[in-house]
C-alpha cells in the first residue's frame, strides 16, 4: 500500500530577529539597507531537522512533543500555510483541518451565504455544497436564522454553523490541532465525538496534542518530536512512555513565567504567572498537605465582556483539571475594566498526589476566542513527606489521578445498633 502522506527530508528554518517584527516600515528597511547593504546578519534557527516519516491510509497518528518542539510548525507545513525550507511532502488525497472552523465567515453575509463561502474556502465545490446543504443545516441547528446576517448570530450559533460545514468536508486526511478548545464543553464534546467517528470510519487522522489522554483515545500510532527531530515513531504506547520520561527528566523546573510579548491591542494580556506557597514564596516542590497557589498578573486593555483567565493542570502530561477565574464571579465575567490585575488561586491541600505537575495558563473571551495560551508554562512537583506513609491513597503508584481527603465515618457493631 502506498503511503497517503510521505514526508521526505523535511527541514524548516526561521530567521531569528525577524521573528518578533510583525511588519516593517519602509523607513526602517531603507536605513537598514543603508547601514548594512545587502549583508544581513540574521541568525537561522532550524525548527524542523530532517524529518522522514510515512502515514498510511487508515492510520490515526498522534503527534506529541513539548511546547516548541516543532509540532505546530509541522502542522503548518502539512496544511500548506507556510512552506518547507528543504525537502518535500507527497500528499495523496484531500486534506482538511479542523483548525479552520469558521474561517472565512463574513459577518455581513447571511447564514446560508456563509455556508457556501466557507465551504468553498475549505475546498468543497459548489455542487458538493448544494448536495450536502440540507445535512449541514440540520447538523448546525440554526435553520431559523439562515437568512439573517451572521453578525446577529450568537457566538455559539456561529460555532455550530462553522463546525457543521467543517464536519461535512469528508477529507481523506484530517488534521486536528488540539487547540480546538474553543467553545463550550458541549461543543467540544461534539467535536471529539465527530473526530472519533472520522477516526473509526477508517480515515487517516493526524492529531497534534500534548494531552496524552486525548491521544490515547483517538490514535493508533504515535510520533514524538523533540527539538525539531523525530524521537520515536510507531507504537503508540512506547511513544507516549518516551514522552513522559522526557517530561520528568526535566532540566530546570519552571516556577515563574514571564510573557515576553505583552500585547496592548488585545482585550487581555497575561504579564506574569508564578507558583507560590502560603507565605508568598516561590517554590517548586510542595508537600501533599500544602496549598499550591497560582498567582497571575494580567492587564486589561479595553473594557471587556466575557473575558476569562484560566489554567489547566496536568499530572505527568495528563490533564486533570481546568478552571476559570469567572467560575464563581459573574461580575468579573460581565465586565472587566481597564487596568492591571493580580489574581491568586489555591489548589487546596490534600488533593494532589505526588508527581510532576504542569500548568498551562490562558486568557480569552468565553465561548468566542482564545487570546493567549501558554502551554506548560509552569511546573512543580508534589511529594509526600509531612505525614506517615500509611496514607496509601496518596501513594503515587496506586490508581486514581487525584486524592480526596475524605472522612470515613466508621462505626462498630459493638458500640451501638447499626
Amino acid at each position: 500500500m502506498k503511503p497517503i502522506l510521505e514526508v521526505q527530508n523535511l527541514w524548516k528554518s526561521f530567521q531569528i530577529g525577524a521573528q518578533h517584527q510583525r511588519y516593517l516600515s519602509m523607513r526602517e528597511s531603507l536605513t537598514n539597507f543603508a547601514k548594512h547593504g545587502f549583508q544581513s546578519k540574521k541568525e537561522t534557527f532550524w525548527a524542523l531537522k530532517d524529518l522522514n516519516f510515512n502515514v498510511y491510509p487508515g492510520e490515526t497518528l498522534g503527534i506529541i512533543g513539548r511546547n516548541g518542539a516543532g509540532k505546530t510548525t509541522l502542522l503548518k507545513i502539512l496544511s500548506r500555510i507556510s512552506p518547507p525550507t528543504k525537502g518535500s511532502i507527497t500528499v495523496r488525497g484531500r486534506m482538511a483541518s479542523l483548525l479552520e472552523v469558521g474561517t472565512g465567515f463574513h459577518t455581513e453575509l447571511t447564514g446560508r451565504e456563509n455556508i457556501f463561502l466557507n465551504g468553498a474556502i475549505l475546498g468543497l465545490s459548489r455542487e458538493e455544497i448544494k448536495k450536502k446543504y440540507d445535512e449541514i443545516v440540520e447538523f448546525s441547528g440554526v435553520e431559523k436564522f439562515l437568512e439573517t446576517p451572521l453578525k446577529h448570530f450568537s457566538s455559539g450559533m456561529q460555532l455550530r454553523l462553522a463546525f457543521a460545514v467543517a464536519a461535512h468536508l469528508e477529507p481523506e486526511i484530517l488534521l486536528i490541532d488540539e487547540v480546538l478548545a474553543v467553545g463550550d464543553a458541549e461543543f467540544q464534546k461534539r467535536c471529539m465525538g465527530k473526530m472519533d467517528d472520522i477516526a473509526k470510519s477508517g480515515k487517516t487522522v493526524i492529531f497534534v496534542s500534548h494531552n496524552i489522554n486525548a491521544v490515547k483515545n483517538l490514535c493508533n500510532s504515535g510520533l514524538l518530536i523533540m527539538n525539531g527531530t523525530i524521537q520515536e515513531k510507531g507504537d503508540l504506547n512506547s511513544t507516549i512512555n518516551k514522552y513522559l520520561e522526557n517530561l520528568s527528566s526535566n532540566e530546570a523546573v519552571k516556577t515563574i513565567f514571564t510573557n515576553k510579548l505583552i500585547k496592548d491591542d488585545t482585550p487581555i494580556s497575561i504579564i506574569e504567572a508564578k507558583i507560590i506557597d502560603e507565605n508568598n514564596k516561590i517554590k517548586s516542590t510542595f508537600d501533599v498537605f500544602e496549598d499550591v497557589i497560582l498567582s497571575i498578573k494580567y492587564q486589561v486593555n479595553k473594557e471587556t465582556n466575557g473575558g476569562v483567565i484560566n489554567f489547566e493542570l496536568f499530572r505527568f502530561g495528563e490533564q486533570i483539571a481546568l478552571s476559570f477565574d469567572t467560575d464563581l464571579n459573574q461580575t468579573l465575567l460581565n465586565n472587566r475594566k481597564i487596568g492591571l490585575y493580580k489574581t491568586q488561586v489555591a489548589i487546596p491541600r490534600g488533593r494532589l498526589k505526588p508527581g510532576n505537575y504542569a500548568i498551562s495558563i490562558g486568557c480569552g473571551i468565553a465561548n468566542v476566542t482564545k487570546i493567549e495560551h501558554f502551554e506548560n508554562c509552569l511546573e512543580f512537583e508534589v511529594v509526600l513527606e509531612s505525614q506517615n506513609e500509611s496514607l496509601v491513597s496518596y501513594a503515587s503508584k496506586r490508581s486514581g489521578i487525584i486524592a480526596l481527603p475524605l472522612h470515613w465515618q466508621t462505626k462498630s457493631k459493638n458500640d451501638e445498633q447499626l
Binding site: 507556510s82 500528499v91 495523496r92 446576517p149
Partner: protein
Amino acid sequence: METKIEYKIKPKSNFTIELKELWMYRELFYFFTWRDIKVKYKHTALGIIWAILQPLSLMLIFTFVFSKGLKLQSGQLPYQLFVLSGLTIWQLFSGGLSNAANSILSNSKIIQKIYFPRIIIPISAILAAVFDYFFSLAILVLMAIYYGLPVHFVQTIFLLFVSLILAILATSGLSLLLSAWNVKYRDFQYAIPFFIQILFFLSPVIYESNQFKGTRFEILLKFNPMCGPIHLSRAAFSGLAIDWQLIIFSLTTSLILLLAGVYIFRNMEQYFADLA
C-alpha cells in the same frame, strides 16, 4: 470521493504560476468576487446604483469645469461622452487597484489558516471592479445612443472588449505588486490613494492624448499602461482611427508590470501568513 488527488509540498519557486492548481481552485475566484460584491452593496440604500452614480457625477463635474469653464477640446465626441468613455474604464482600474491593494491584508485571517493560491484574492478584488464596470458601461452605451452616435455593433463591442482585457492586465500587474508590498510595508496603505490620484492626471481621461504630441509629456503618456485602454474605449464610440503604437506601448508596460507583479507576489506570498 474517488478523486485521485496527489500533490507535493515543496519549497516555492518564484516565476511560475501553477495554472493546474489555479484551475483546481477556480470556484474560489467566483466565491471571493461574489463575496466582495455582496458585502460592498449590502446595507446601501442605493445598492448597485452607486456603480453608475460615481462616473455620472464625475462626468457632470468635469464637463462643467473643463468643457464649459476651461474650454478643453474633445474632438469628435461631445465632452460628456468623451469624458465618460474614459471614466468608465479608468474607474475599473482605480477601483480594482485600490480593492486589490488592500485585499491581502483584509483577508489575513483566512490566509493564516487555510491554503489556497493566494493570487486568487487580488484577482477576485479586480473582478469585483469589473462587475461595476459593466453597469457604468451600460450608461455609456445608452448615452451614446441618446447622442445619436454611429454605434457599429461589432466594431464597438470588439474595441470595448480589447480595452477591457488591456485594462485588466494593467490593473493586475500593479495590484499584485502593491498588494504584496502592502503586507510588508504598511506605508503603501497611505501612498496608494495618492498614487492613483496622480495617475489619473497622467492619464488622458479628461483631456486628449494627442494634445501632447511632440512635447516632453508625451513619453509619460506613452508608458502609462492605462493610456491604451482609454484610447480604445473612446475609439469604440468616436469611430476614429486607432493609434496602434500607443496600444503596443501600453501593452508592453502592462506586461512588464505583470511579470514583476507575479514575481514579487510569488516571492512574498509565503510570508503573508506571518506578516499579515
